[in-house]
């Protein structure tokens, strides 16, 4: 077990900068998820930590040791690949035993450990099979077993659940989390699935275009996104963004979105005046923080129903206000007809304002 420190990591492939000056500190025993869209550099970061790619700049420490120059086998890490990467010509037993064989453990010790891991993962009766005779979920467990058997300092996981069907994925998500808690092994987990990240991680590192956007606990990432990217990436459906300009009239500050004006509180106005680089702003509200009204209300913004998407217990109502469409998540609301007039109001505490130019959060 060990902490992992990544400092100013940069990795380029030709002209493409896959990872750009990334700094990340993973505590001992922590479960950290690298989250981002494909091509954001999360897998490259993981591969640099594993030693499968050599960084162009920066340092990587595992424990207190600088590992930049160490080959993968000397870093005492274990990795689970998206494709599982089982050895197709070996039986499950030999797959799990392979890391121990390579390290010349005595036979009796190998046997003891393989059986122990097999029991832990409930794959004892599969030990004599070849990987291709296993289902996806079973192969997944074998891959995990091969990683667990060596009792490594750090687990690296590259989208290990993305090849499983939806039901199994939800099940394995919980299993993995429990296992990690039990073993307390430092884990770095790569995924593009925000639900996976939110449910499993102690902390989430959101990446985009090779740059770390925000590194914090899941609740913080959700409630205090630091950039437009993070705000839009976390949450389903994603946050609504409305372009607007700051307008001051008779000592009051408003956000003018064209079709409506949103009055800022004293405090909000002060922050905006301090931090904004120009009067061009983005107003962000999550669909779950908008209330839908069938009758006019104070501070309500008038719009028309554009589309209704039922989700069972809830509805996603697309409301057209001026030229923009707001997604609103709301409990089922009697009959809603297309083009019907509705009013929406924002939960004042849950309104975000971003600088349009820098894309950074102001409130």
């Amino acid at each position: 077990m060990a902490r992992v420190v990544v400092r100013n990591l940069t990795k380029k492939f030709g002209n493409v900068t896959a990872v750009n000056r990334l700094t990340l500190d993973v505590r001992d025993g922590e479960f950290v998820v690298l989250l981002g869209p494909s091509g954001c550099g999360k897998t490259t970061t993981l591969r640099c930590i594993a030693g499968l790619e050599a960084p162009d700049e920066g340092e990587i420490y595992i424990g207190d040791k600088l590992v930049n120059e160490l080959p993968p086998k000397d870093r005492n890490i274990a990795m689970v690949f998206q494709s599982y990467a089982l050895y197709p010509h070996m039986k499950v037993y030999d797959n799990i035993a392979f890391p121990l064989k390579m390290r010349k453990y005595p036979k009796s010790e190998i046997d003891r450990r393989v059986r122990e891991v097999a029991r832990l993962l409930k794959i004892e009766e599969l030990l004599d099979r070849k990987p291709k005779q296993l289902s996806g979920g079973q192969q997944q467990r074998v891959a995990l077993g091969r990683a667990l058997v060596r009792e490594p300092d750090v687990f690296l996981m590259d989208e290990p659940l993305s090849n499983l069907d939806a039901k199994l994925r939800v099940y394995m998500r919980a299993e993995l989390k429990r296992l990690q808690r039990e073993l307390k092994v430092t884990t770095i987990y790569v995924t593009h699935d925000q639900v996976e990240a939110m449910t499993m991680a102690d902390r989430i590192a959101v990446m985009n275009n090779g740059v770390l956007q925000q590194y914090a606990e899941a609740s913080e990432i959700y409630s205090r996104p630091s950039t437009v990217f993070v705000a839009g990436f976390i949450g389903s459906p994603p946050m609504n963004f409305i372009e607007c300009t700051l307008v001051e009239e008779q000592g009051e500050a408003y956000l003018d979105a064209g079709a409506f004006r949103y009055k800022l509180s004293e405090e909000q106005a002060k922050l905006v005046r301090e931090k904004a680089s120009s009067s061009e702003l983005l107003l962000g509200v999550r669909p779950e923080h908008i209330t839908l009204h069938l009758k006019p209300v104070e501070e309500g913004i008038k719009g028309r129903v554009y589309v209704v998407e039922p989700l069972g217990a809830e509805l996603i109502v697309n409301v057209k206000i001026g030229e923009s469409i707001l997604k609103v998540k709301t409990p089922v609301h009697g009959e809603l007809k297309v083009d019907q007039e509705v009013w929406v109001s924002f939960n004042r505490d849950r309104v975000y304002i971003f600088d349009k130019r820098t894309e950074e959060s102001i409130i």
Binding site: K73, A85, L86, H89, M102
Partner: protein
Amino acid sequence: MSRKRVLIHVVAWSIALIWIIPYLGVFIASVRPYSEIVDGWWNLHPFTLTLDSYSAVWNHKTYPLKRAFVNSILIAIPATIIPILVASLAAYSFARFSFPVKDMLFLTIVALMSLPQQVVIIPVFFLMSDMGLINTRLGLILLHSSFGLPWIILFLRNFFMTLPVEVEEAARIDGASDFQVYFRIVMPMSLPALASIAALQFNWVWNDFFFALILLLSPDKYVVTQTIPMFIGRYLISWDKVAAASILDMSVPLVVFALLQKWYVKGVVGGVIKG
């Protein structure tokens, strides 16, 4: 059966028949006495079945075919194993590692495949002569090995590139060195490809006449293909003996093919082999 299918069957059977007639002729000639086939193997009256020609060539006084078999085997087996070992390591590095002038080197190797044997045989002869390898099995083994290298490198490099690289990366993380990754992971995963290459290379070496003719001079070193013409005789052609020796010669590649056929087909089908 539709008319189209009937037509396809007729055409296919005709081609197969045309293809098989020469072999059938050689086989029938090999199991009948000389007097019966001298006017053509297709004259089936009288028909006496005998294996005399086989024992005659097998135990021939001056050119016993059994000695030639031993020679051929002693050359073909090492000339199959050596190039596969060397070429597979080269192919693996072409497929997985990056190093300066890699592409140029690879293109050169592929271009070497187009060199005809007849073009290089004279310099090769002098080279062998300088190294004292004329009239030695080792000389022929080395020559066949070097001729096998380019195509085996090309074939295996393409095959290795289809293998999932994560499996090798997993092995690296699990503690394997480059050579361990190759010998414990890549090679076992490549058995179908290696088997089909072995079949092709073995048969190629076994069937070679030209290199052996130039490099092996004394009759006690002759390989099978070199020995067959010796049964032609000075005044008359012993068709029965030539036929028997040919059948024995052919049987080896056929057996090799039959044994490795399962793998061979997989290898030809190419990178579709999955773990």
